[in-house]
């Protein structure tokens, strides 16, 4: 695609540069959807939702809602003429329940009123007559009833049953891994502004503007070209705004269509937590056979997840769980059975890691159990099972692990964290301390980078150079705090040899770059960075040709650096060359497009290469527990994480630390609880415990692993959004280690709340 060499010493990439909105963030000047100045005739919407987990709606009387003060419009399923289904992949997610509700909190109708209070008050006046139906509320119950939302999938290699039968040691067990609420600090919000000809502009807090565009067009009965979705930034996404933003945008758009006025829908926090999907909780059965050295001979897993009432993205999420049940370990004989359970609870969805973390928990739990059975250090068992580099290096899904750095990375962390001495110290402490017990664990991470749905691995970008030499950049990715925008701007500045402040980032818009993939699967910088690079290189080549002609040198002798273009000893300022190009009638705008190479994946057989490469990492956690109360404390955490040759070490360190904290929260304090009627009882930060500053390990040592991405990802960097979340798994296993020190081997479910720690200890007394 390009004949030009990469600059020898990069000026802008690989540097620790602050987030592009840093100044606005500290001044409170960064605009989120709810901060956009409101149009003068704006209406506010509220959703009325089901108070039953599973019921027929015998009658729906909205007369009192419509008559309430301030109310301008009320909509229910019967009012929708084009479509009522907004399932992202498969149908099953109605905007408004139509005669049947399948979870407590499901949207039934919506109201638009003059102010938020009036809309919310009115939404409480509906008279709904329900006929309750039996509800499936747990994974156990779904398994017993064979209640599945999608067909069960099986991934198999070798002969696990024979290997189990022939193994010298064998362990079986079951444990649970909890779900997680995203709790993006900015809740779900959209503002729909009607335009001419029935067009609709949607300001949405979404990771997937194109899907919001498509679904709004679908429910309004419009062609896609009539709807524009715009996103400048989100106040956090974490996967929760990939599909879950759509219903908010669709309700706002439907009410805007009905009233002819702009409509904003911002979910109240409780409503947000009750109405929208979360991370899947899993129930995991394992049956493992192994030798005296801890090496696995064969393993069978049953991974059952709570998908909730609709398919949403559960097929891909559970696939990814299956593809990460190997983590860093070679499993010669393996069978993974994946049940995708239908329950009458909210439809679970994408959450940072996308099933990968749950799959990884399965094998890490097994590693720990093997070590306890053999009386070995769990780290020794893990090492005995690591993928090799030239043999024992093919995953259960048939992909060769070509970039295995895990033995080297773990060895480095083991040394830098002083693991061996601390292992001995923890064991010694536990010998003499009856009421406080310590635990230590080192767990590795290998995370596959690419969407497993192959078609999503594409991206577009749009770069304009104006005649003063300033540059405007747009691409299909969305900014949710992960630093995508600054990274892509660094790439464009690097390619054109200009200062970063010459590149203006603009809001993601379906009108500028169409048919985009969600900003998900950690792919944002990989995909959009490459697409923007392609656009910038197109412009650079045109400018280089012009400069080459002027300087009388070949085009490949032209360099772009420090805002200047040079060749053959001659120099022209970048803006001057741009101006010259304009007068020479050379196009100063270009699109760029990128597709991830090397993917060769058969979704039907689950064989091939679903991932471009793997991102690696490892963490060591040391914890203490109080045997009498279950109180837990994280004493120290060491992390070594692989970002390839980091595009921006400041941003990447933040992702690693933040991902760890979020993973730690998932596995320690964040507990979702449903009552017997299927109602979520933890629907506010008062009852759902998110890590705060005081929960971060007091001694927290984080480093980036030095090493290039072996694949040609953008500037040899690696994706960093999701992988660090799984570094939190070492906290869980350190707690498991401490519990084992107190009470011996015992089933231990995540999240490892103090209550769980205490109950686990009590169970063995």
């Amino acid at each position: 695609m390009n004949a030009l060499p990469e600059p020898a010493i990069p000026e802008t990439v690989h540097r620790a540069i602050a987030h592009d909105s840093a100044d606005k963030h500290v001044r409170g000047a960064a605009l989120y959807v709810d901060d956009i100045p409101e149009p003068r005739d704006l209406l506010h919407a509220a959703i009325g939702w089901s108070s039953r987990a599973h019921a027929r709606i015998l009658s729906l009387d909205l007369a009192a809602v419509a008559a309430a003060p301030g109310v301008v419009a009320v909509l229910a399923a019967r009012d929708l003429t084009a479509s009522n289904d907004i399932g992202p992949v498969l149908p099953g997610d109605p905007v408004f329940a139509d005669g049947l509700v399948e979870y407590h909190g499901q949207s039934i109708f919506a109201v638009a009123a003059d102010c938020v209070g009036a809309a919310r008050r009115a939404a409480r006046l509906a008279r709904v007559e329900y006929q309750d139906l039996p509800a499936v509320l747990t994974i156990e119950q779904a398994l017993a009833d064979e209640s599945y939302i999608l067909p069960t999938r099986i991934l198999r290699r070798g002969d696990a049953a024979a290997a189990l039968a022939g193994a010298s040691r064998r362990l079986k067990g079951r444990f649970g891994v909890g779900g997680q609420d995203h709790f993006y600090l900015e809740g779900q919000v959209a503002m729909a502004v009607p335009g001419e000809d029935g067009d609709m502009l949607i300001h949405s807090s979404t990771q997937h503007p194109t899907e919001v565009q498509h679904l709004v067009a679908k429910v309004l009965g419009l062609p896609d070209h009539a709807v524009v979705t715009e996103v400048r930034r989100m106040g956090g996404g974490f996967g929760g705004k990939e599909t879950q933003a759509a219903i908010v945008a669709c309700v706002a758009a439907l009410l805007a269509r009905r009233t002819g006025r702009p409509v904003k829908l911002r979910l109240d926090r409780d409503d947000d937590m009750i109405l929208t999907g979360k991370r899947h909780d899993f129930l995991i059965d394992y049956d493992v056979g192994f030798g005296a050295d801890g090496r696995i001979a064969g393993v069978e897993f049953m991974l059952a997840s709570r998908c909730g009432m609709s398919p949403d993205l559960s097929a891909s999420i559970n696939d990814r769980a299956m593809f990460h049940a190997d983590n860093c370990y070679f499993l010669q004989n393996v069978t993974i059975v994946s049940h995708r359970c239908k329950t009458h609870t909210v439809s679970n969805t994408a959450f940072r890691g996308f099933g990968g973390p749950q799959g990884m928990m399965a094998i890490e739990y097994v590693m720990d159990e093997i070590a306890r059975d053999l009386g070995l250090d769990p780290l020794e068992v893990r090492k005995a099972n690591f993928y090799g580099t030239t043999e024992r290096n093919v995953t259960p899904y048939g992909m060769t692990v070509e970039d295995n750095i895990i033995p080297a990375l773990v060895a480095e962390l083991e040394a830098s964290s002083d693991y061996a001495a601390r292992r001995a110290a923890v064991d010694e402490f536990n010998r003499t301390s009856p009421w406080l017990k310590k635990g230590l664990a080192l767990t590795p991470v290998k995370f596959g980078i690419s969407f497993t749905a192959k078609h999503l691995n594409q991206a577009g970008a749009l770069v304009h150079v104006y005649t003063d030499g300033s540059i405007q950049l747009n691409h299909g990715g969305t900014e949710m705090g992960q630093g995508l925008f600054v990274k892509v701007a660094q790439v464009v500045a690097e390619e054109l040899g200009v200062a970063l402040d010459r590149v203006k980032l603009t809001a993601t818009s379906t009108a500028k770059v169409p048919n985009t993939s969600p900003t998900a699967a950690s792919s944002g910088a990989d995909l959009n960075g490459k697409a923007a690079q392609a656009a910038a290189r197109t412009i650079r080549e045109r400018l280089a040709d012009l400069a080459a002609a002027r300087f009388g040198v070949p085009a490949d002798a032209i360099t772009f650096r420090d805002g200047q273009v040079s060749g053959g000893g001659q120099v022209i300022a970048f803006p001057d060359l741009v101006k010259a190009a304009y007068f020479a009638r050379i196009q100063l705008s270009a699109t760029g497009f990128y597709t991830t190479p090397r993917l060769d994946w058969n979704e039907a057989t689950h064989q091939g290469r679903p991932f471009f490469y793997f991102a690696y990492g490892a963490s060591v956690s040391e914890v203490a527990i109080d045997v009498l109360t279950g109180e837990t404390k994280i004493l120290r955490v060491d992390i070594l994480h692989d970002c390839g040759r980091s595009l921006n070490p400041a941003i990447d360190l933040g992702q690693v630390e933040g991902g760890f904290v979020q993973g730690m929260g998932w596995l320690t304090t964040e507990e979702l609880a449903w009552d017997a009627a299927g109602r979520l009882t933890t629907h506010a930060p008062s009852t759902y415990k998110i890590p705060t500053a005081s929960d971060v390990p007091r001694d927290f040592r984080v480093a980036l692993y030095r090493g290039d991405n072996r694949e040609d990802a953008i500037y040899r960097s690696k994706a960093v959004g999701e992988p660090p979340l799984m570094l939190g798994i070492s906290v869980f296993h350190a707690l498991k280690d401490a519990v084992a020190a107190a009470a011996g081997p015992v089933r231990f479910d995540a999240p490892a709340t103090p209550e769980r720690v205490l109950l686990a200890i009590e169970a063995n007394r």
């Binding site: 987030h19 909105s21 840093a22 963030h25 500290v26 001044r27 409170g28 000047a29 960064a30 605009l31 989120y32 709810d34 100045p37 509220a46 959703i47 009325g48 939702w49 089901s50 108070s51 309430a68 109708f109 209070g117 919310r120 008050r121 939404a123 409480r124 006046l125 509906a126 995203h182 709790f183 993006y184 600090l185 900015e186 930034r233 989100m234 106040g235 956090g236 974490f238 109240d268 926090r269 409780d270 409503d271 009750i274 705090g481 933040g654 992702q655 630390e657 933040g658 991902g659 904290v661 979020q662 506010a684 930060p685 008062s686 705060t692 500053a693 005081s694 929960d695 971060v696 007091r698």
Partner: protein, 197 residues
């Protein structure tokens, strides 16, 4: 404090008994977090004057209006964010007479003559407050949504005159959730500013 700080939480708890009984389909989780179902008589508008970021501002408002909503919807100061609207996330932290409060739990009608400082009033024109500069220097944010609340909370903390080390900063800042988990950088930024301020 001599003036009783009548909060929205208390106000709605007292009035919750008057409505909401007919709710079949819900639009909220807790009685006190949701306006009453049966519309109460339109309350008298209250007039208050507050000193906001150094300027007298006269307001006419429904007595149920929280300071957060008054700031965002009547004064168009959207730097103060609404995260949970129930006093549990800290995103709406502002200074009231120099002390940090959750603006979502304070009734604006009670603030006549009081002094409110928001994130918009912290910098001196182009000159950032040392906390703001330190948050940039230490990358003390990711998505930025909690940042105004973190910074105002930290400003309140510095006003409190406590001895501050890393441990105490973490403890005293634990009312401000950062879901991106930028805590190590937030704490570093506050440590730096506490040395300077």
């Amino acid at each position: 404090m001599t003036i009783r700080n009548f909060t929205r939480r208390e106000f709605l708890r007292d009035t919750a008994a008057t409505g909401g009984a007919a709710a079949i389909a819900g639009s909220g989780g807790k009685a006190w977090a949701v306006p009453a179902a049966a519309d109460p008589p339109v309350p008298t508008q209250h007039r208050v004057t507050i000193r906001l970021n150094g300027t007298e501002r006269a307001l006419q408002l429904d007595p149920r209006t929280s300071l957060l909503d008054a700031l965002r919807e009547q004064l168009y100061l959207t730097g103060t964010k609404k995260g949970c609207d129930m006093g549990a996330c800290g995103a709406c932290t502002v200074l009231l007479d120099g002390k940090r409060v959750n603006a979502c739990l304070v009734l604006a009608a009670r603030l006549d003559g009081r002094e409110v400082k928001t994130i918009e009033g912290l910098a001196d024109g182009d000159q950032l407050h040392p906390l703001q500069a330190a948050f940039i220097e230490h990358d003390g944010f990711q998505c930025g949504y909690c940042t105004p609340g973190q910074i105002m909370s930290a400003a309140g903390l510095l006003n409190e005159g406590r001895p501050l080390d890393e441990h105490s900063i973490r403890e005293w800042m634990s009312g401000n959730i950062c879901r991106c988990g930028a805590y190590p950088n937030i704490v570093s930024a506050i440590r730096q500013a506490s040395g300077r301020a």
